[in-house]
């Protein structure tokens, strides 16, 4: 057994986290920052953080991930990191020539109390920030929230770049939240089909799903431009996808630029996508084109065609709040039965959302925020499931418990496809169904006794 020391009996833990279902803020901030065109993320802390975040993102995307660090030494930790950061800004603009630098803090710089705005001012005064270039920053203390919080904080820092304006440009801001490049691409495709003019940030499509051409671009073609982000203050409204990932930024746009917002669930699955499209067509004053209706119909069709294999199957889920909420709703809507759900991100609100879905469906779900995968595994030992859905770390549970496993979420370190094929929208729903189905049917084909081995499923 790989996780041979995990006992079935559950003891409450107050201090020890085992096999986390979250990581720290800065990596989220780094991922978000990569969604700005020509932006170099910068980690204000000791160099290890940056190395770890780059490695994890690189393994997830199998793509180069560039980011700089202030490389704190013991001295800097005592006397403050201003000198390091200003030197870094100078070096970065000189050597890499990005359009923008997106700085996020770390537990280190937060603990010693470095003040980014003040350091940025100094850098500008010292002429270290070339004309027309942008420096933005987000406080991302690792000891608060999770990687999701860090993502949200950096997106909020983007929103802070927005410039108030009295005349609207007719556009709609879309804050997609922490989804894959392929998902962002898909969201743009749906908006375009609907004829909605949008500004989407962050946008990692074209950044972390790059081609192999013999050229290396440290700053790929993708991403939302700083000027578009600035102009987002002139939009008619903001659709924020995911309370945890996107709401803060949307609300800042509201308070700062009077751009009203709507917080929606991430468009995973049929119903959440329905709501997204319905709101989008309403605010865009457009009617939904047949093509989208058809895509929707295909998703409903596959649910009905394969319903006998989904029906009543028990699921264990681990991931991030916004994704899990939509996924849970989707699973319930196809008559599957989520029974254990864990996120590492804190927040009772998450447990409330899941419980509401469960109650509406008349089922009970074990749910925990600020939980860990050790607990999830123990829950599974106590009430077995038919399939587990989550990031790559689930594979250890899946192998020990001999469970079908669908990789979904972050990080996925051992398979390809997530960066190329969306799981948002109706088409994404088709892919999710296909993946769940393959996992369940592969297992059926493996376990069916010979006389029940089926040609037609």
């Amino acid at each position: 057994m790989l996780l041979r020391h995990t006992p079935k009996e559950i003891k409450e833990r107050k201090a020890l986290m085992i096999n986390p279902a979250k990581t720290c803020q800065p990596i989220g901030a780094m991922y978000a920052a990569l969604g700005i065109k020509g932006c170099l993320p910068h980690s204000h802390g000791s160099q290890g953080c940056c190395a770890y975040h780059r490695s994890t993102l690189t393994r997830h995307y199998k793509e180069p991930v560039s980011a700089a660090t202030s490389s704190f030494t013991e001295g800097a930790s005592v006397f403050g990191g201003q000198a390091n950061l200003i030197q870094a800004i100078d070096n970065i603009f000189t050597v890499y020539e990005p359009e923008a630098i997106a700085v996020h803090t770390t537990c280190l710089s937060e603990t010693i109390g470095d003040d980014l705005p003040q350091i940025f001012d100094k850098a500008r005064k010292d002429g270290k920030v070339p004309e027309g270039k942008t420096v933005l920053g987000a406080p991302t203390p690792s000891y608060v929230g999770s990687h999701v919080t860090g993502f949200s904080n950096m997106v909020k820092a983007m929103a802070a770049l927005a410039e108030p304006s009295t005349k609207k440009n007719g556009k709609i801001n879309i804050i997609p939240g922490w989804v894959e490049p392929s998902d962002m691409e898909e969201i743009k495709r749906l908006c375009a089909m609907l004829g909605a003019e949008i500004t989407m940030f962050p946008d990692t499509s074209g950044v972390l799903d790059g081609p192999l051409t013999g050229k290396y671009k440290m700053f790929p073609d993708g991403g939302c431009t700083v000027s578009d982000i600035k102009a987002s203050g002139s939009s008619i409204g903001t659709l924020a996808l995911g309370e945890w990932c996107s709401a803060d930024a949307a609300r800042l746009l509201d308070t700062k630029c009077k751009v009203p917002c709507s917080i929606l669930d991430m468009p995973f699955g049929l119903k959440a996508t329905d709501r997204f499209i319905d709101v989008l067509r309403t605010v865009a004053g457009a009617s939904v084109p047949d093509e989208i209706v058809k895509e929707r119909g295909k998703l409903v069709d596959m649910i009905s065609d394969m319903h006998q294999y989904f029906y009543g199957k028990k699921v264990a889920l681990v991931g991030d709040p916004d994704q899990l909420i939509s996924m849970t709703e989707f699973l319930v809507s196809i008559d599957m039965q989520p029974v254990h759900i864990v996120t590492g991100t804190p927040g009772k609100k998450f447990e409330k959302c899941i419980t509401e879905i469960a109650e509406e469906a008349g089922i009970t779900i074990n749910v925990k925020a600020a939980g860990d995968m050790f607990l999830l595994h123990q829950w599974i030992k106590n009430e077995p499931v038919d399939i587990i859905i989550g990031n790559t770390y689930c594979k250890y549970i899946a192998r020990d418990e001999d469970l079908p496993f669908v990789r979904w979420g972050f990080p996925i370190l051992d398979r390809q496809g997530h960066q190329h094929f969306p799981t948002v929208g109706y088409k994404g729903g088709l892919r999710l169904l296909e993946q769940i189905l393959n996992a369940l049917l592969d297992r059926k084909d493996r376990d069916d006794p010979e006389e029940k081995f089926e040609l037609v499923l």
Binding site: T23, G48, S55, N91, L108, L212, K215
Partner: protein, 545 residues
Amino acid sequence: MGKAHKLVQWDPHNVKEKLLEKYPAKVARKRAKQIMVNEAMENSTPEIVANVRTIPGIITMRGCTYAGCKGVIMGPTSDIVNLVHGPIGCSFYAWLTRRNQTDAKNDTDSNYITYCMSTDMQDSDIIFGGEKKLEAAIQEAYDIFHPKAIAVFATCPVGLIGDDIHAVAKKMREKFGDCNVFAFSCEGYKGVSQSAGHHIANNQVFTHVVGKSDTEKSGKFKINLLGEYNIGGDGFEIDRILEKCGITNISTFSGNATYDKFASANQADLSCVMCHRSINYVADMLETKYGIPWIKVNFIGAEATAKSLRKIARYFDDQELIDQVEKVIEEEMPAVTKTLEEVYPRTKGKTAMLFVGGSRAHHYQELFNELGIKTISAGYEFAHRDDYEGREILPSLKVDADSRNIEEIHVEADPQLYRPRKTEEELAALEKAGVDFKSYEGLNPMMPDNTLVIDDLNQYEAEKLVALMKPDLFCAGIKEKYSIQKLGVPMKQLHSYDSGGPYAGFKGAVNFYLEIDRLVNSKVWKYMKAPWQEKPELSATYVWE
């Protein structure tokens, strides 16, 4: 990269200039000292600056002290509970991300390598201190797992807020009695790279574990293998060979290590050092405190493996062992030669660059030489000058501020356990016979003339270097892999191999030959241009069937 481009001529000094030209003056000056053209100079060898601070904002390959301590040295251990005291990230990122293998054979054996444990510090802990939480976490770990030992690692904020992790460790150790609890002050901001973390790990393991075993280890030829981390199973292959030779490996630092193996290290009669950079401290301390001599070995490369085995045999000076070693080499080499002959025609004449670790950029040149591949540029990520220029320059090294912060522990001969394994005469004789004790010659002597030795190569220089010198293969780490491959140059990870292995020993050599053959001869590198990019012109009239 089409063959067409392969004949580019370059002069190392020009290349060096090009690497520096874009830097701000201050940066350029600093980097100039870390980029060395390997060339003969009259009565002096070229110097290189190493183990100095990373430049803020310059995208580095380096990691931190915590990574060196927890990730590299302690990570590979199997039956020690590694508990990280700090916010969740540091523990998460070091969770199974290095391909250290552990074979806790039967299910009753303890193996915690698949577990990630942390105190997950929250803001309240930062404000009010985290000692209470650490204490509670240790208690919970003990209650759930009942391990032999619990190792506690500090991350950045811990030092800053002044948690006394050693006091907490001591308190719990005494409370449990049957579980050794010890701590590492390996905050990420210490030192200038992972290297500081190695040193800290060495010190604590030596202080708290080595010599603590009371079980007598048997074996006629007992060694320790220092600085081998069992990435991709390297250590398994080396152990297979040692066993076949009749040599007993008491303790590997730290691949597939167990608490008891560490604790018994003092019972070996020879320490063999693989990665000099990360572990030479332990080698020295084992000699000082227990009288165990150490030699540098290298099991990367078939020839190097044979050489190392012979060296060990010679040390023990036992004809039976010497014969057995020769017998083993004879048995193992044919398979190696067979594969080599098969791939050599396809690999010979290719060029490579290596920028890894504290010894791999050196060791792997053995394998590349066997393949007929020339290393045109190499360097370390976190090495010190002695790893380049050899230990003989150690005396001349000055300790800078960053190194001074890393504790140097003072050890002396153990009143009970110190036992010189050889007399002065024997040692001298062996030295004469070529068994060079406490010696490491470093990377530079191995590099061909007019190649570039570069310390702490960064992303910008790497890209330039490849563009200018167009190697057939580049070796570094995961962070560098894809930016290099985007340029159409295959990239092999040599810290924690991206896949494959083992590459150590005889079987490892075979694996490596095949892997390199695959990389440099993969068809994919021919596909970077589409046909319409090769021939953009539109033939006025298309020729239909």
